[in-house]
């Protein structure tokens, strides 16, 4: 067992990826000399040198596209888009090129590219720097989209993404960087395509991902004290979504609540609700509910930010209400 912050877990994962092959390199804004905007890559420049840890100019579309080209050329780039907030500038490259080339070329050109982005809300960074845009990427066929909601996944998802021959978008969570947790060492590899049951229970399924995982676990702990056994299913993969795991959970509990910080309309939570509707309508004892971030550009002050994202107490209340 080792005790690591989420940040250190990410760095371990990156290091492992870089060690796995000379073809792997990291490129992004301030990943090298600055040490990474959230210090995730701090020290890696010294460890691997400037050819493997490449600082790039502010040019999200340019360097993401270059990552795609380098992947086509046989390298295994890991592109860091500093935060998801800047990903829209690279969206055309990600969607029209990375996600599309394999199919459009009739199977000739796959793009084995990993794109990491720090994501989420919770450090009072206000409207242009506080986004949960997993839904925008989860809509796109050709991409795989994964979300590291726990320390284990922070540690192991990078390597798993790198082994995938497809473009993989990997979401990491800014607000969790300093959070500590114990983890096994060595850790087993993860299967990117599968959801993971983080806690089992029989009364209700909390279905979540990313920044929602620890919140749901926390809420589940509170609820357990009141005798309610809720289970927590971490989707992990947002594209494709592991429908089977969702159905299995709902078949057991007959009630589900989706929890995530993203804006609710047209989100992962919408999709999960629709899939439950289609796959286990007759198993439901009550309608599936959703708890999401408020649909507003994120305000700066703490009290408004707190009000705009899901709080564990809200989860507890909602579950009480659904089971009451």
């Amino acid at each position: 067992m080792t005790r690591l912050t989420y940040r250190e877990a990410l760095k371990q994962g990156l290091r492992e990826a870089l060690q796995s092959s000379d073809k792997v390199f990291l490129l992004g804004e301030d990943v090298g000399r600055y040490g990474g905007s959230f210090a995730v890559s701090k020290g890696l420049l010294q460890e691997f040198g400037p050819d493997r840890i490449m600082d790039v100019p502010l040019s999200e579309s340019g360097f993401t596209g270059a990552g795609i080209g380098a992947a086509l050329g046989g390298m295994r780039p890991i592109v860091e888009i500093m935060t998801v907030n800047f990903s829209l500038l690279a969206m055309d490259q990600i969607v029209n090129n990375a996600a599309t080339l394999l199919h459009m070329s009739g199977g000739q050109l796959n793009v084995p590219l990993v794109i990491r982005m720090s994501c989420g809300i919770g450090r009072q960074l206000a409207a242009q720097h506080s986004h949960s845009w997993e839904p925008l990427f989860a809509h796109i066929p050709g991409l795989k989209v994964v979300s590291a909601g726990t320390h284990e996944d922070a540690r192991k998802m990078i390597m798993a993404a790198l082994l995938d021959p497809n473009p993989v978008i990997l979401f990491e969570y800014t607000a969790m960087m300093n959070l500590e947790a114990d983890m096994e060492d060595p850790l087993p590899a993860v299967d990117l395509s599968k959801a993971k049951l983080r806690k089992s229970g029989k009364d209700l399924s909390l279905i979540t991902y990313g920044s929602g995982v620890y919140k749901c676990l926390h809420a589940a702990g509170e609820l357990a004290k009141e005798g309610m056994e809720v289970e927590v299913l971490d989707l992990r993969s947002l594209r494709p979504i592991d429908t089977e795991a969702i159905v299995a959970s709902v078949r057991k509990t007959h009630r589900a609540l989706m929890v995530d910080d993203a804006w609710q309309s047209v989100s992962i939570s919408s999709e999960v609700s629709a899939r439950i509707m289609e796959n286990c309508f007759y198993e439901l004892d009550a309608p599936v509910q959703r708890l999401n971030g408020l649909e507003v550009p994120m305000p700066y002050p703490k009290h408004l930010e707190d009000a705009a994202i899901v709080q564990p107490s809200q989860i507890v209340n909602k579950v009480r209400q659904m089971l009451g």
């Binding site: 000399r33 600055y34 210090a39 002050p301 703490k302």
Partner: protein, 326 residues
């Protein structure tokens, strides 16, 4: 009156105004850092210390009708533009008396009254908007300039290219002010740009340009006057590169691993505030007492801004969805 004549008139009284302005920015920023440490201010905080001459000099060349757009490192521009210091401090506290209702914080100061249009935190994202504002002015036949501040890092973004080209094609009155402080976060100029002489970007768009010592407020004022005059006469855009340096870290999360302490110290020798202060003292326009008095006034003004922020109130949570739509 030509630009040169105008600059000639930058007499003692004007210089004193400039000094006071720079002192205010300096002191305001120091106080902001202090308030950040006290956790009164949160989120990202980017200080302008070292770069005061740029905002001060450029803004002094503008008229109240002109538009100003800036980055997330914009307290200096906002203050120079005349946004109330109390409203800025309250904004950083997140209080509803803040200039953006407390919604924006340090990176998103907005003030329609003084035509201060942010406080934009997507690097280079405001450049196209600046061009559009100038286009509106042209279409409405308002003889106004839109002044847009941005960094050396921003000039690498595609939007810089698109905005420069559009402004030149449409011949609209934009003053592009590049605050070249040699770093984009931890990325030195030479890692951001293949050609580090940023002025060399202008000919590719047929845009008039100049480079000025951004540590010398009088030089900046002079260059800005020339630029603004040219814009008002021709209606065309202008690219002004100000060579400057930030004395502090990029933001409050920055260990400054990427630059040498010596380099920082060398630049500090060129402190724009001390420079003007010394010049004014040498010209005997200013006595040691005058300086002291000015500093005290500034100190009080900054203290008042903190008081104002402290007394401010929180926007009620039930108003959070107000202004998602109008």
């Amino acid at each position: 009156m030509t630009a040169q004549e105008q600059t000639m008139k930058a007499d003692a009284s004007l210089k004193m105004k400039l000094l006071r302005q720079m002192l205010l920015i300096r002191r305001f920023e120091e106080k902001s850092a202090e308030m950040y440490t006290k956790e009164k201010i949160r989120g990202f905080l980017h200080l302008y210390i070292g770069e005061e001459a740029v905002a001060t000099g450029v803004t002094a060349a503008l008229s109240p009708d002109d538009n100003v757009l800036a980055t997330y490192r914009e307290h200096g521009q906002a203050l120079a533009r005349g946004v109330d210091p109390g409203a800025i401090m309250a904004e950083m506290y997140g209080k509803q008396e803040g200039c953006s209702l407390g919604r924006g914080g340090s990176m998103h100061l907005f003030d329609a009254k003084t035509k201060f249009y942010g406080g934009n935190a997507i690097v280079a994202g405001h450049l196209p908007m600046a061009v559009g504002m100038a286009l509106a002015d042209k279409k409405m036949k308002r003889n106004q300039v839109t002044c847009c501040f941005f960094g050396d890092g921003a000039a690498a973004e595609g939007e810089f290219h698109e905005a420069m080209n559009l402004a030149a094609l449409w011949q609209v009155p934009v003053l592009f002010v590049c605050e070249n402080n040699l770093y984009a976060m931890g990325t030195a100029l030479k890692y951001s740009h293949a050609v580090t002489d940023l002025e060399k970007k202008a000919p590719g768009y047929g845009i008039a340009s100049a480079t000025v010592d951004g540590m010398d407020v009088l030089a900046v004022l002079d260059a800005a006057h020339k630029a603004v005059d040219t814009i008002r006469t021709t209606g065309k855009p202008y690219f002004l590169v100000c060579q400057t340096y930030r004395f502090r870290a990029h933001s409050m999360f920055d260990a400054e691993l990427y630059r040498d302490k010596n380099e920082v110290d060398e630049w500090k020798e060129r402190d724009p505030v001390t420079r003007l202060e010394e010049q004014l003292t040498a010209e005997v326009a200013l006595s040691a007492d005058d300086v002291l008095k000015m500093k005290k006034e500034v100190e009080q003004e900054v203290d008042r801004s903190v008081d104002f922020a402290e007394k401010g109130t929180w926007e009620p949570v039930d108003q959070i969805s107000r202004y998602v739509y109008k």
